[in-house]
Amino acid sequence: MIEPIIEIVDNLDPGKVYQELSHPKSGGVCVFVGAVRDSTQGEEVVSLEFESYQRMALKEMRKIALEAAEKWTLNAVVVRHAVGAKEIEEPVVVVGASAAHRDACFQACRYLIDTLKERVPIWKKEYFKNKTVWVSAHP
C-alpha cells in the first residue's frame, strides 16, 4: 500500500508535483491543476475564497486517494488543495497519479478531481463586482 500525499495549503506550487509523482515503475504521470477563471457564466469574477473543514477534508481526500491507488495500482498519488483568498489565474487544486501505463494514470487523475468535487468539504465563494456567491449552494 502506497502512502498518498494529501495536503491543504495556503499556496500551491504545481511545479513540484512531478517530482512527487516520479517513480521508477511509472511510465505515465497525469496531473490536473484547477485554477481561478476570470469569469463564471459570462460574469466577471474579481476573486475567490476557499474555506475547508480541514480535519474532515483531509480524511476524505485521503480516502479518495487510497481508492484510486487501489483501483488503478498507482505508484504515487497527490491530492492538494489551497484555501484562503485566491486571485485570477492562481492554482487552487492539484491532483496527480503515477502508474505503469497512461490509461491508468489518466483515469485515476480524472477520478481524483471528480470525486474531490463531489465529496470533500471545501467551499468556494466567488466575489463579483456587486455580489458574492457560495458556489453550488442553491439549485
Binding site: 475547508s52 480524511k59 470533500v120 471545501i122 467551499w123 468556494k124 457560495w134
Partner: protein, 80 residues
C-alpha cells in the same frame, strides 16, 4: 451540543459555532438535527443539499448523536 458551521451555513446562522440546548432542543439523530436546523433557519431548506458530519465523517440520517461527538453541518461542497 455544538454544531460547526462552514460556507453558506456560517452565513445563514451568522457564526461558526451554533450551540443547542441539550435539554430543550435535544436532537437524537442526524435526521432530527437536520429538521431542527431547518426549523430554526428556514434558509437551510433552500440549499441544493444538506449533509451532517459526525466525527468528521458523513453520517446517514439514522445515525445517533452522542455526547462529545464532533458535529458539523455540510452545505453543498464546491472545492476543486
Amino acid at each position: 451540543m455544538e454544531v460547526l458551521l462552514f460556507g453558506i451555513a456560517k452565513d445563514i446562522v451568522g457564526k461558526t459555532l451554533y450551540e443547542l440546548d441539550d435539554v430543550t432542543d435535544n436532537p437524537k439523530s442526524v435526521l432530527e438535527l437536520k429538521q431542527y436546523m431547518v426549523a430554526q433557519f428556514p434558509e437551510f431548506g433552500k440549499l441544493s443539499s444538506l449533509a451532517i458530519a459526525v466525527n468528521s465523517e458523513y453520517a446517514a440520517d439514522d445515525v445517533s448523536l452522542k455526547q462529545g461527538d464532533e458535529i458539523a453541518i455540510i452545505p453543498p461542497v464546491s472545492g476543486g
